[in-house]
């Protein structure tokens, strides 16, 4: 993949998010994401892998402009959008950056028919010239996600659909505006194992045919390997390693990535065996200090590891990590 040479469509720079949790007495800051930097490219899938609570959804929701970042930048086509507040500018961004949620059972409002979910983005973003074109547009979206017969599906309510069918509706909704970027937050993790591949293949097809840039969040290393061009490994709010997927899986560098992959029996064997297990203890994000978040569990820990977060080391043109072993 020569995508690295082309201009990124979306750049995330030193993005961070602090949540204030607890009441007046127990108030503490949760550093959910710290100093996240990566790019998304057209026709390129970037996977974000990490165990539960590592901050993956927080990153996605910041890029989707659902959470306001505490610090850092989100550049879309070179323009910082992290501080856009006006409805006009937000709408323009939303017409190009869309999102698919983890749980298709709660991401579709039970009171609306499938048709409504597809018509709204078309209306809001003025993607149809004439009212008469609406029907045809909705049907063509349903055809693109293989929900046929389209007339029948357009009139259904979410409770009349299976999980996989709902997720296809959610994908069609994201596609309605013809986005350049799709953020997919664990889009298959709530689905039956038997239908995950169908959804992943649909997204792969969209990447190939529509040249859409994907940010694919997952627990599942095997699916990241299958679908993603590049993998980012996240641990306790930090992205600790990144690189071309096959290379990273064959030859992990960061001690956490190594631990993660050793816990996965054989990622090549199939999609069902490769869930990221929680290995050892996840540090409480409220206690994450200055140093490397992995220090408490790392076999190679050194004094300086506890003092400051290691800088980013470029290992090759396509690989980087944040660990003092490679400084």
């Amino acid at each position: 993949m020569a995508a690295e040479k082309v201009q990124p469509i979306l750049e995330v720079k030193a993005l961070s998010k602090d949540f204030v949790a607890g009441n007046v007495l127990t108030r503490r800051t949760v550093k959910a994401v710290q100093d996240a930097t990566f790019n998304l490219y057209a026709g390129h899938v970037t996977a974000l892998v990490g165990e539960s609570g590592s901050g993956k959804s927080t990153i996605v929701r910041m890029i989707a402009r659902l959470y306001q970042p505490t610090g850092g930048q989100i550049l879309f086509k070179g323009q910082d959008v992290a501080h856009d507040r006006t409805r006009g500018r937000l709408l323009k961004y939303r017409s190009q950056v869309q999102m698919i949620f983890q749980d298709p059972f709660s991401s579709l409002n039970p009171v609306h028919r499938v048709r409504h979910n597809l018509e709204r983005p078309l209306i809001i973003h003025k993607r149809i010239k004439r009212r008469q074109d609406m029907r045809e547009q909705v049907h063509s979206l349903l055809r693109r996600v293989s929900l046929t017969p389209v007339e029948e599906f357009a009139d259904k309510y979410p409770h009349q659909l299976s999980g996989g069918q709902r997720q296809r509706v959610a994908i069609a909704r994201a596609l309605a505006v013809e986005p350049l970027v799709i953020l997919a937050d664990e889009p298959v993790s709530m689905l039956d194992v038997s239908i995950r591949l169908g959804i992943l293949n649909l997204m792969a097809q969209l990447r190939n045919e529509q040249n859409i840039a994907f940010l694919y969040v997952t627990h599942d290393i095997a699916s990241a390997r299958y679908f993603a061009n590049e993998i980012l490994v996240m641990y306790a709010g930090h992205i600790v390693e990144g690189g071309a997927s096959e290379e990273l899986i064959q030859n992990p560098q960061h001690p956490y990535t190594q631990l993660l992959l050793s816990a996965v029996p054989d990622p090549a064997r199939g999609l069902r065996t490769a869930e990221v297990e929680v290995v050892g203890e996840i540090p409480s994000l409220a206690e994450v200090g200055l140093g490397c978040p992995f220090a408490a569990r790392c076999a190679h820990v050194m004094d300086k590891c506890r003092k400051a977060m290691p800088p980013r080391t470029q290992l090759s043109e396509t690989r980087w990590t944040r660990c003092y072993l490679y400084e």
Binding site: L91, F105, S106, S107, R120, P121, I124, S162
Partner: protein, 302 residues
């Protein structure tokens, strides 16, 4: 194409209960299948029909003297007459019309204020929520009926319109609190996040994404508010703080008590309106129990 069964949703993710669907057929079916709700609806329908067809049921003007004082029930005056010689049956029929109309209207005003306050606080969060919640708590602490009594006494026999406004202004807090907490839950659901990502404006999210998912809660709060308002109005009128020249169930009771109907044994002047008031209270209670059972399957007998 996938044929698998839907997998179950995770705990903690707000899942609209299957019975909360706003598809009318389903919804009406479950109401009609529920015994309590059906009985309540039948009683209520009876009184609504009586009110609508008051003119067909009796040709006697309820405010005119048509007989001797305290005539016992007879073929001519099936519920007898008052001490002023007015026809009690006609008074109960027309008084019911006014009582129900004012009660429903007041309940509707109350719930409308509750919806605006509760949904705004729940969705907006932040200082808006803090301010509105504080206001809600203040109104929750205020003793409702005693306050209305004081205000009504101070306004000196206010008409129904004034009582309606006063009741509406001080009785919205309970509904607002219930609706706020439901709004908070729904606001964090993924379909609201999805609507924001699609670009839906805030007012549309509140009205078309959140509100339709609270229909049963809104309806039961509305019925509760109607019941509260009706009983409060009857109470005020009974103790003579309303406009006693209007015929309502409350004022019939007021005059009966004023004319010492109890001592003179004129039971027909207070038993019929009393039964009507109790029946309306019962029917609204039954409907709300029914809605509770339908939306909360754990309460259903297996």
């Amino acid at each position: 194409m996938e044929t698998s069964q839907p997998v179950s949703a995770p705990l903690g993710v707000p899942q609209p209960k299957p019975t909360r669907r706003v598809q009318l057929p389903d919804w009406m079916n479950s109401i009609l299948r529920n015994r309590k709700a059906s009985v309540g609806i039948i009683i209520l329908t009876f009184f609504v029909l009586v009110s609508l067809f008051a003119g067909q049921l009796t040709s006697i003007n309820p405010t005119r003297r048509v007989g001797r004082p305290h005539e016992a029930p007879s073929a001519e005056h099936i519920l007898g007459t008052t001490r002023d010689g007015k026809d009690v049956f006609s008074q109960v029929v027309y008084g019911g019309r006014t009582t129900l109309f004012v009660g429903f209207l007041t309940g509707t005003i109350i719930i409308a204020i509750s919806i605006v306050m509760g949904l705004t606080a729940g969705y907006m969060g932040g200082w808006v929520d803090e301010f509105l919640s504080m206001l809600t708590n203040v109104f929750l602490i205020l003793p409702g009926i005693p306050l209305v009594i004081v205000v009504a006494g101070w306004l000196d026999r206010p008409g129904p319109a004034t009582v309606m406004i006063v009741l509406g202004a001080i009785s919205w807090a309970w509904g607002a609190r219930v609706l706020r907490s439901q709004t908070l839950t729904l606001r964090n659901s993924e379909f609201v996040a999805a609507a924001r990502v699609v670009g839906e404006p805030t007012w549309r999210i509140i009205l078309f994404e959140i509100l339709p998912n609270m229909v049963s809660l809104v309806v039961s709060s509305w019925i509760g508010a109607v019941q509260y308002a009706t009983l409060a109005l009857v109470t005020l009128e009974f103790i003579g703080l309303g406009d006693v020249n209007i015929v309502t169930w409350g004022t019939i009771l007021f005059w009966a008590q004023n004319n010492q109907a109890l001592l003179t044994g004129a039971w027909w002047t207070f038993i019929p309106p009393g039964i009507c008031i109790a029946a309306i209270g019962l029917s609204l209670t039954l409907i709300n129990y029914g809605i509770d059972e339908i939306t909360n399957p754990r309460l259903q007998r297996s």
